[in-house]
């Protein structure tokens, strides 16, 4: 579904991403982990077109994404969430979902409203439907941001940047449940950046470890966390 070939991003002399080759199968939930500053968010920015790569290529469902601006990538079915939840604070909870439909959804506005109501119900946010998004707690904002992508039928690959940071366990469970459900029922592919190993273990059969802008190792979570290089990357060399 999503593939990068030798993806490299240089900021001046700094290599934020170096020669990243990553291939995620359709319907896979892939974890992307790594210490702070490993280049995870840069990688997401390259995938979504916020930054142009210095070299390399990105393929989504058999077509290159190079040269495409962020909004056309979104219309090809590649959506993302942000590490710090970016909601439209002047809009209500419902409007924050509807706008995603207006932006690149299909079907009538009536369908979109029904879908939004269904999503809010599933997420337990129905009560807050008409409140301004700025009234939500941090966790609820992260949840609402996640729901946004599910408004779009053509969503194929959903990139989640630290979706669980600062989210309480109950909301976290709701999010995990939603991700599982949309993965199973609609075959949506996920790439999840997270530091929360317990959630990654629940969701991802495979994880990719990024360190200093390079892919260190790829495999099952337990496999990679036992790897000496990974422990070095996280804890520093003196520990091993």
């Amino acid at each position: 579904m999503l593939e990068t070939i030798g993806l490299t991003k240089r900021f001046g002399g700094l290599f934020a991403n170096t020669d990243i080759n990553l291939s995620i199968a359709e319907g896979e939930i892939r974890g992307l982990i790594g210490p702070n500053g490993a280049g995870k968010t840069t990688f997401i920015n390259l995938l979504t077109g916020v930054e142009e790569p210095s070299s390399g290529d990105i393929w989504l469902a058999g077509k290159t994404l190079l040269g495409q601006v962020p909004y056309t990538r979104a219309r090809r079915g590649l959506l993302r969430t942000f590490q710090v939840p970016k909601l439209f604070r002047n809009m209500t909870v419902l409007e924050n979902l509807l706008i995603q439909h207006f932006a690149c959804g299909q079907g009538t506005q009536r369908d979109a409203r029904l879908r939004a109501d269904g999503l809010l119900e599933m997420a337990g946010l129905t009560r807050l439907r008409d409140s301004p998004a700025s009234h939500l707690s941090g966790g609820q904002q992260a949840l609402l941001q996640l729901l946004g992508g599910f408004m779009v039928e053509r969503l194929r690959c959903y990139l989640l940047d630290e979706p669980f940071a600062g989210v309480n366990p109950i909301v976290k469970d709701t999010m995990v449940e939603l991700i599982h459900q949309y993965n199973r029922s609609r075959g949506i592919t996920f790439l999840i950046v997270s530091h929360e190993m317990s959630v990654i273990r629940q969701l991802c059969s495979r994880v990719t470890v990024l360190a200093e802008g390079k892919v260190l190792i790829e495999g099952a979570l337990d496999e990679v966390t036992a790897n000496a290089q990974v422990i070095d990357a996280y804890l520093g060399k003196t520990w091993s």
Binding site: T48, A74, L79, F88, N90
Partner: protein, 324 residues
Amino acid sequence: MSRGLTRRGCGLRPLLISGLLIGVAALVPLRVNDYLLQVLTISFYYVVLAVSWNLLAGYTGQFSLAQQAFATIGAYTTGMLGHYYHVPIAVGIVAAGLVSGLVGAILGVMVLRLRAIYLAIATWAFAETLRITLTAAYEFTRGDLGLSVPTLLGNLDPLPYYYIFLAMAAASTLIVYLVVRSPIGFFLRAIKDDELRAASMGINTTFWKVFAFALTSVLSGLAGAFYAHYVAVISPQIADFTEMAKIIVMVIVGGIGTFAGPLAGAPVVQVVSSFLHQYGQWSNVIFAVLVIVLMRTYRDGGIALLLHAFRLLWARVADGRGQA
């Protein structure tokens, strides 16, 4: 920081308030003299500019300082076409809308990558350039001597003009209202809040920013054209920055937080400033102080303040009844 700027942008209430204001305005000629009628007629020209600017700056976050420049482009387009080519007035007015819209779209493209204060400076520079060009090219524009323009109805009876300008203000307000309520309104508000997120969810932010510039320029250009055919003599003075300052004052006095704000703010400011005219430049000082006081104390503006007071009063009355 942007608390409430567009919070009440989408309900039906703004339409009701606007309708009420327009209804009151339609009855005004029964009670006032010709002088005040003319002041109000001009104020409807400012309503169009203020409503347009509110869409561009208030909703889309494009803090342009060139709204008066697009009215000027409209005024001079129809004025010069009429003066040199004897084009019919109706054709001149349509051309004014088209030329203003085109220039607005071009300016929109040029300032695409500019944010906040940089966009304000660039648009201000554009407006100043236009004003100076019109003054300097006096061989064609007649500069500060003024370009004479035929009147719309061939006479100066104030009443028909009053209703024409009122209809123009009402139509512009309705257009902006429909835009704000449609998905386009969502896109514009999203662009103001967070452009990166708007783009990453599939919104063509470039297109909609240029659209906002073009649409508000068309409206202002048309208003400028009608203005030219009403006052009969136009000069580069209408592109002066004080005109832009006036538009901002009108929006703030009416309430930058409300859709109907500019609709009420423009006539109030225009009428008050016409009475303060005898004190010359001092009227500007008084408005500056008023703006500072409003921004410090009640940022939602005059309309919201009145509504708030009315609600308090109503609550007290209802309370009194309950006790009795």
